[in-house]
Amino acid sequence: MGLLRMLKNDKGGQIFLGVLVATLIAVPILHALPTDHPLHLSTYMVTLLGKYLTYALLAVAVDLVWGYLGILSLGHAAFFALGGYAMGMYLMRQIGERGVYGDPVLPDFMVFLNWTELPWFWHGFDMFWFAILMAMCLPGLLALVFGWLAFRSRVTGVYLSIITQALTYALMLAFFRNEMGFGGNNGLTDFKDILGFSLQDDGVRVGLFIASGLMLGLGYLACRVIIQSRLGRVAVAIRDAEDRTRFIGYRVERVKLAIFTFSAMLAGIAGALYVPQVGIINPSEFQPLNSIEVVVWVAMGGRATLYGAVIGAIGVNYAKTWFTGAFPDAWLFALGALFVFVTLFLPRGIAGLFKHSLLRKRAKV
């Protein structure tokens, strides 16, 4: 009941959730069809869709802070990657003796570096629940510490964007170092199984796809709950007139910190779901480009709508997959042009167009 009431004024959200549920039902069925059936969906496609869904969740997290709180974070790729690394560490530990060097505890790259003992921060990651917890808590903790420092001293706007980018850049450099104990350049890869099931198994692939879809739905609803509450209205108030919000007695810093941290945790979950599907996590996920790309998905789909972020993430990534297959050199041209086009001609994104036409229809009636 509460759910329906919440979505009452969220036409786009209703449609989005409807489509999501339909997809989650349809994809496993289409996949189960015999391979020669024209509607059969290959495992590759299922995994691709699952990857898109994790991107969509990341985009929703970015839209929450950018669209509603006015913080243009160029650091969400870092939260995503940290979540991914947490999951990657679990998957690494699951390899066990099947690694090239056959060490029961140490992952291959540690044996290669002549390490004899598991570093302290790798302990516990053999347990799935712990890895999932860390996939949420590590990005959350980073966001909490960074946000506490930044918001307290009232770093806002472009400054904040730039230092979030610097943070991500610093993390990238750090993870490139072998001494960090995260596989350096190559990152973590060659995963074998998750929760005892082989990652190569079709059923596991479908399972991961469904998990991604469910988390996207849940993440969307959680963000919706925040936005519909008075806290969400305070967030928008901060976005539009930060000082005024302070003068009517709200602790702007804490509101920002809470929502930013929550958003980072969502990004971490998205990263944790992403890694088992693509089978690798390495420091290039921290690239500044990645963070900014997410922002463009959101801008493309339409900020401050949440479902727009989903449209943007899936749309842009589908285009990316298609381009890199058909014209590999042209992708960066297209992406660059998209950045310019969206900011100049589509400031409210696709969702904005949609809303606009909706309003006009209403006006006619």
Partner: protein, 271 residues
Amino acid sequence: MKSGLLQRDRVFDFMTPKKVEGLDLKHGTVLYMEDVSVTFEGFKAINQLNFYLNTGELRCVIGPNGAGKTTMMDIITGKTRPDTGSCWFGQKYNLLQMDEPEIAQIGIGRKFQKPTVFEQHTVFENLELAMAGPKTIWSTFVAKLNGEQRDQLDQILAMICLTEEHSRLAGLLSHGQKQWLEIGMLLMQNPLMLLVDEPAAGMTHQEMDRTVDLLTSLAGNHSIVVVEHDMEFVRALNSRVTVLHQGAVLMEGSMDAVQKDERVVEVYLGQ
């Protein structure tokens, strides 16, 4: 509608400010500013300012541009920290050690020179956000309007004549309406002391009259500082006037006395 709400003999319960815990007003003075100085890059915006406000008093502050009126409000509300001096709210609260939200929470409300409302929120939501009450994250997250609060909102809406517009986006209001909305938000906070910066700017004569009525009716229960350029408006408020010049108090007195004072005339008309 408007006249009824502004009748002096009717006092709405929400217009009686809530008790601020520990605020000791037995000396009859609600605001003390002593020896306050602020320098911006060599420029003394506030220079050894002394300013006292009595409980329940309505005070107008006038002065030429750059006299330090807005800076004074910035100091009281915690936006600007003075280099020297002290600033106390009652006997208990040292305003110089508190930040903006804390100061707002102990009952000091402020209306900005340029009307600032939350443009992407409706009029109703603007007032709801400003409503007095706990403003921690969790309480904000779970907050729901109860009937009493809804009534209070409706009353204020009526008082600022925006009942019709309650679900319009605040960004779509006219300049005068925004001024009223901001005053409404100030009232929703139910503060003990109000700092009102140029309330009459962009208002029609009628609206101005209503503002005067409102402010004078609030005085007594609230302490009010009004900064204004419009002398007619100040005269209509019929209160004590403080003249600021170059960051310090030039003189204090009734409007008549002020207007007769040679120094004030000189300051306003130029040497």
